[in-house]
């Protein structure tokens, strides 16, 4: 107020508060209302656009850093004769066309065929980078490539939606993107951080299932049951245990569907127990454990379909134990809270076996997830 007095400005006159009929003051109120009536959406579009633009820049940095890290990793660990940059860049633009679902009958084997063809192709291409590439290194590269490709795709989709809304000057079109942006950025940040764990071969949160079953497998004779999947036999309080997980310490999830089919054709277990990581709800604690029924397995759904079909055909009940974690925790270095839940889960698995089988019966325990950095 003192400043206004010093400058010789009358505050009442400025706002016109002393006189309601001041036409200048009337304009001051009415003009913004008219502006907002006609240009409100455009102004909002500008504000939202600048917010999305900032996130998109961050997403672009993540994408480029992941690509750079992958290329540098290849150059330092494999020391290839030729520069792998062109080959890697070609991978980023690869796409997969899913089968027609107008008639969904019999679609699962088609999806499995297409996904496996893609995986086989990537595996083959990675192996061509260096003749002395070990299966562990190859699996690490495949996982880094997957993370970098997903980041590349996320950026391209966000950019497409953003530019379309801007081109059409369409505010409602940009709203779904604005709402989804925090979730997209959370996933992008998780993928970016995951590259580091993959490079160093460190266990990720998703590996808790294979870690629990891997510990139960220690000291038993392990046999290959399906591609990158192993099993062994053990005993617990008069019950026979069939233990199955992906073959560690490679970065793989194995083929639990195929493995289950083969185990059941040889020896029919009385129950199936699946141990897996599950996405927690906001407010739930990381590493908390929950028990339920049904096939606890993520992915595209083909393995889950196969497991459910085999279990239904042989009338075998499926029990599930899940360890809760966020999307970021699931694909980055395993947190202490998650690793510390392993002992509690093991005793819960044993309780479940005791409660649901009699002496002389058998149980199949499956450790589901990416077994990177976890042996058996």
């Amino acid at each position: 107020m003192k400043l206004l007095e010093f400058l010789g400005i009358n505050f009442d006159e400025l706002l016109g508060s002393g006189d309601d009929s001041n036409p200048l003051m009337w304009l001051v109120w009415i003009v913004p209302i008219i502006i907002f009536m006609f240009y409100g959406q455009r102004i909002q579009l500008q504000i939202t656009s600048s917010e999305i633009s900032r996130s998109m820049e961050k997403l672009k940095t993540f994408k480029e850093e992941a690509r750079k890290e992958l290329i540098e990793y290849l150059k330092t660990t494999l020391k290839p004769a030729t520069d792998p940059t062109a080959k890697i860049d070609k991978f980023f633009e690869h796409f997969t066309i899913m089968p027609v679902d107008m008639d969904p009958n019999g679609i699962v084997p088609k999806v499995r065929h297409i996904v496996r063809s893609r995986e086989d192709y990537v595996r083959l291409q990675v192996k061509t980078l260096s003749p002395e590439l070990s299966s562990l290194e190859a699996s690490k590269i495949e996982n880094i490539l997957e993370a970098a490709t997903t980041l590349h795709l996320l950026y391209k989709i966000v950019r497409h939606l953003f530019l379309t809304a801007k081109k059409q000057n369409n505010f409602p079109l940009i709203l779904p993107l604005q709402m989804m942006m925090p979730f997209i950025m959370e996933e992008a940040e998780a993928l970016k951080t995951a590259v580091d764990a993959f490079k160093h071969g460190q266990p990720i949160g998703d590996g808790i299932g294979p870690m629990i079953v891997g510990k139960m497998m220690l000291g038993t004779a392990k046999k290959t049951v399906a591609f990158e999947t192993i099993w062994s036999e053990s005993e617990y309080e008069g019950r026979k245990l069939y233990l199955m997980k992906a073959e560690g310490p490679s970065a793989t999830v194995g083929r639990p569907g195929d493995a289950l089919e083969r185990i059941i054709s040889e020896s029919k277990p009385d129950i199936i127990v699946m141990v897996d990581a599950a996405l927690k709800l906001e407010g739930e604690e990381s590493g908390s454990i929950a028990q339920g029924f049904g096939a606890a397995i993520g992915g595209i759904g083909t393995d889950r379909f196969q497991i459910e079909e085999v279990a239904t055909k042989h009338k075998i009940p499926i029990y599930a134990i899940v360890i809760k974690q966020s999307i970021k925790e699931a694909i980055t270095l395993m947190k202490k809270e998650i690793v510390d839940s392993a002992e509690k889960v093991t005793s819960q698995v044993h309780d479940l076996i005791k409660e649901n089988t009699k002496t002389g019966q058998s149980a199949l325990i499956i450790g589901v997830g990416n077994t990177l950095g976890v042996s058996q």
Binding site: P203, M211, G214, K215, T332, L333, K335, K336, A342, S375
Partner: protein
């Protein structure tokens, strides 16, 4: 910024356990470590050390 997140630095650790004296030791993760890997011999009883856990902690 009220809602700005603090950047966490996660350090990876490996936990080793001796198969005979059951002594547990924690050390920083080394390249090539993996869970259930047999590493060195125990400094107190000469038993075999096994990596039982690898995890990240905020430092």
């Amino acid at each position: 910024m009220i809602f700005s997140k603090k950047k966490e630095i996660i350090t990876p650790y490996s936990v080793e356990q001796c198969n005979s004296c059951k002594a547990i030791s924690k050390r920083k993760f080394k390249e090539g470590d993996y869970v259930f890997k047999n590493t060195d011999t125990c400094s107190s009883c000469k038993g075999q050390l096994l990596i039982t856990k690898i995890f990240g902690e905020v430092s």
